[in-house]
């Protein structure tokens, strides 16, 4: 069976750095990027290992700030 492969996109300026998405991601795709701050003044979430994303939508479902857009790769 082909692996389900997702591509997470992050609207960095919407993010408040709460980290809920990081806590629910089953594949450890996401992390908080403490090397920069967004315009709101938060450390935003970033894609750490995008190739591991399975498109389960957990991050998008728990995000209170609708930071995520998720695409699904069909050709895998």
């Amino acid at each position: 069976m082909a692996d389900r492969r997702g591509i997470p996109h992050i609207a960095v300026e919407r993010c408040k750095g709460c980290g809920l998405c990081v806590s629910v991601c089953p594949e450890a795709v996401l992390s908080i990027d403490e090397s920069r701050v967004n315009l709101k003044g938060y450390y935003p979430v970033t894609v750490e290992s995008g190739e591991s994303c399975i498109g389960c939508l957990s991050c998008a479902l728990i995000c209170p700030d609708v930071t995520f857009t998720i695409e699904l790769l069909d050709d895998r």
Partner: protein, 247 residues
Amino acid sequence: MSVIFKKTAGLTETDTHYCPGCTHGVAHRLVGEVLEELGLLGDTIGCASVGCSIFSYNYFNVDMIECSHGRAPAVATGIKRTVPGKTVFTYQGDGDLAAIGTAEIVHAAHRGEHITVIFVNNAIYGMTGGQMAPTTLSGQKATTAPTGRNAELSGMPLKMSEMIAEVPGATYVERVSLHHPKYIRKAKKAILRGFTYQLQNRGFSMVELLSTCPTGWGLAPVAALEWLGNNMIPYYPLGVLKAPEEV
């Protein structure tokens, strides 16, 4: 490639003022998604409450009205009776619905008004600074209960959904939680069901969403999700409390 999740048109582009990790944002998104999927964005009137959700009229991409504290069900009643073809909902927190607005919610349910109530229960007064609410758990600390809520002084937390489910005029009452993606999927189904009953003119529906208040609870956002699951759900059990018989 196909987009499997994107921001709903049911929300405006305005960023919310909610604290990081507050699940109000999740509740907003679910309501927006349901209204979009039902094709109701042009035909819905929302009634905003007082509390942290006071600015929700800036975030829902539908016509909104700001109501006096606790009176959203009364305002919704007037709107629905005046323009019965519109979908009317209220979005209220526990300080609004379970405290100052207890009379309005009970009597709106009792009259069987054809409205949908979104009740966000985070067991504390968030906006005003973390004071004890009627829904604050026994032993839970708040700024007005620094050693924890004492049942002898303040009574036990009020279970609004159980109370409304006992009202003969209520059609559908369900309690769901926003502390985990699995439960968020169920919450969306409950909200969809609530609005669907309104579209079918089947009467009053209320969906209680257990929600976090990391700032008011004094917890980090992720710890607040765990606290909800470990402490709120045992006292506020999830599930359908009342529904039409044939469903």
